[in-house]
Subunit: 477 residues, 2 copies
Amino acid sequence: MARPHPLSGFPEWLPDGRVVEQHVLEVLRRTFELHGFAGIETRAVEPLDQLLRKGETSKEVYVLRRLQDDADGAEPADRQPEKQLGLHFDLTVPFARYVLENAGRLAFPFKRYQIQKVWRGERPQDGRFREFVQADIDVVGAGELPYHYEVELPLVMAEALGALRDVGVPEVRVLVNNRKVAEGFYRGLGLEDVEGVLRQVDKLDKVGPDSVAALLQDEQGATPEQAKACLELAEISGDDATVVERVRALAASYDAGTDLLETGLDELGALIDAAARRAPGVVVADLKIARGLDYYTGSVYETVLVGHEELGSICSGGRYDTLASDGKNTYPGVGLSVGVSRLVSRLLSAGLVTATRGVPTVVLVAVADEATRPQSDAVATALRARGIAADVAPTAAKFGKQIKFADRRGIPFVWFPGQPGDTGHDRADDQADDRADDRAGDQVKDIRSGDQTDADAATWEPPAGDLRPRAVAVARH
Amino acid sequence: MARPHPLSGFPEWLPDGRVVEQHVLEVLRRTFELHGFAGIETRAVEPLDQLLRKGETSKEVYVLRRLQDDADGAEPADRQPEKQLGLHFDLTVPFARYVLENAGRLAFPFKRYQIQKVWRGERPQDGRFREFVQADIDVVGAGELPYHYEVELPLVMAEALGALRDVGVPEVRVLVNNRKVAEGFYRGLGLEDVEGVLRQVDKLDKVGPDSVAALLQDEQGATPEQAKACLELAEISGDDATVVERVRALAASYDAGTDLLETGLDELGALIDAAARRAPGVVVADLKIARGLDYYTGSVYETVLVGHEELGSICSGGRYDTLASDGKNTYPGVGLSVGVSRLVSRLLSAGLVTATRGVPTVVLVAVADEATRPQSDAVATALRARGIAADVAPTAAKFGKQIKFADRRGIPFVWFPGQPGDTGHDRADDQADDRADDRAGDQVKDIRSGDQTDADAATWEPPAGDLRPRAVAVARH
């Protein structure tokens, strides 16, 4: 076969890139678990009719068919629309289905994290993939879900992403808004098509305030004053309680106060307060966030990497009053989703984070000649038994070549087994396993410094920092 | 939406089942890393023409199409056969492609592990799924690959699976055979259609020796004596060097010795010897293994769970002389693949392994009333900072109800924050974060024993065994 080329939109990493991705995933997972989120995984497919319930995403779905069905000729059962399967495009739809399917066997409120690939048939571009990894946390209640979870979940994400800063991940800023504030304000102004207004306001970054004002008037029938008020609301942002006061004052100046607005401001204020206490400077109220407000019902979150804002949100979510419903019961939820592939892709392409090496191996055990390979195997076995990853040289090449083998992979240590102690060389094969720690003269070389010292496979320890390949920040000059 | 039903062939676990699966995956991954295998992940899709290169699996492939293309009407580019994508049905085909694609950036021999879902459009049945997790290890060389890897890789798998025994996974038996032994023997007998003979011998378990003897004569044109010899070879098995002697003696009795047979016996003997030394009793030569021999070129492996042999092989693989080739270079490889879903499904359905709980939470921090929630949050924060997973009660319900909340999830400890020390109760909100360790009277209750003791969130430690949810063997009576 000819040398294959990458498929656009389907990212893959070399082993050292995968070390960085694994580190990101481990830190996220660890933080989620510390907060009591249970890990689940759902199947990759859902019935197509379930995936298409949100109309807007319908075009992005990959539909599956069994190749065999083509051969069968006749219209097979799983070509019927209701029986067709598609790949999930997020982890929310499958989670909602999982909750309904297992409602009787889950304890609510149910907190879960889920780290899996999702697929979207979108045109690939920078930061947008057709296959990518998401890491989601959600909490879902049966019938009701206290507001305080809307405060806690973005803080969990801020903590998880913040825990990545020491390997070079930039600072994050979590931007928050609240559907009730926007809706209450627009209704107070007399604008009833809330979705329509949100759709226009969402174009602010693209077309600017003048065009949005024109659109609000032309498309939504707003008066110039109403349009002006909408733009003034969108301009408000900040990380302390004055945000709430400014919105309240703005609403008063337009006589646009409503109960819904007040409820929304109470919620937004509580979130900003708690965030300012628990993660100062990380969470910022940003009243211009409109995307998401049309399907979320309370808080909504977006997250940018400081210095990489043009990448878009790397972690978004919000509150649903109805994450799932089976007609009898309703399950409200709140959650956020990290775009892991988007994040890792940027970390690697921007040269922010690198791996100390691409292999787990700490020690390469050299092989003097094939007859003594069992001795080298025994050293590796002794090291592994104490949690030290070890590999044995593939061939009994010259030691210089074996050291090069380690160097090329970033393996920090090369181990040279000594001659068997009190036994003849020709008997080493049979006894090597039993006498790894009886041998005299084992030496280990740190190939970075060149230092070579006597060592015993039963007791030698590498520096803790060398024990595993690590993700590390790339030094900036 | 109506309550959804599971999709046959697409297994999912409840949170406690996922704890068991995670344990299995972690043990496998840890063992692979200790042996120096680098973790990689490949995309879930491959070009359809690449997936169909092995004819026999073609019917099992799930082909993708973008729903949007249906709407577009015209025959879109990605309906062209060479541009169609299918979900991978194993991890070997994608790994071979990854090796070719990145050959210039990988160091050979390249040892990698890969743990991912694969998909097959097969009819679901016990132990056979349409979506399942595989955990593969392979080592691939550039141009050449020393034989000793054929000895090492099944031993790595035996070690990985053996490390699961203390949580109740049954003993495994790795059955090995060698293509060169079978081919050398058949050719020595004068049977040249080696694939044909293997196909008949593979039916032994299903139809019995008499029928196989008849098939060998009817379909392969074997004489009665040749058929008898094939069956006698298939009967040979054992875990020591006498296996090699028995095959050699059998070949001599039919005057069927060949150089290829001798090479194969040397290899098989070396594998059995090393295995008997390094993992006594685990590896068994079984000359009747035929499946796999038609595409592997050297050693071949299957693995059964002792007591669950009818489940079939849970870990199979072998040696390929050409794992991949780009015309200029050839990459021989050897590897094995664990059917993780098949294994976990049996562990759960047979009640062999269970989880101590389904949530990571060690401590539920109770909430006396909503006004003091920040105090409870502060306790949880202090515990988490020391690696102790903590959750805070969802509401300030009666303590009995909060204890029930913990009990239902298997959370072992409930924490009762005391009153703030030297500050008034009404000031607790503002200061709780700063003074988690100043408060007097925190208590923690082990809800299994009922023991309740004074505790300080800055120093208290749970028993090590409670720190994480664990997979444990189900006690047998």
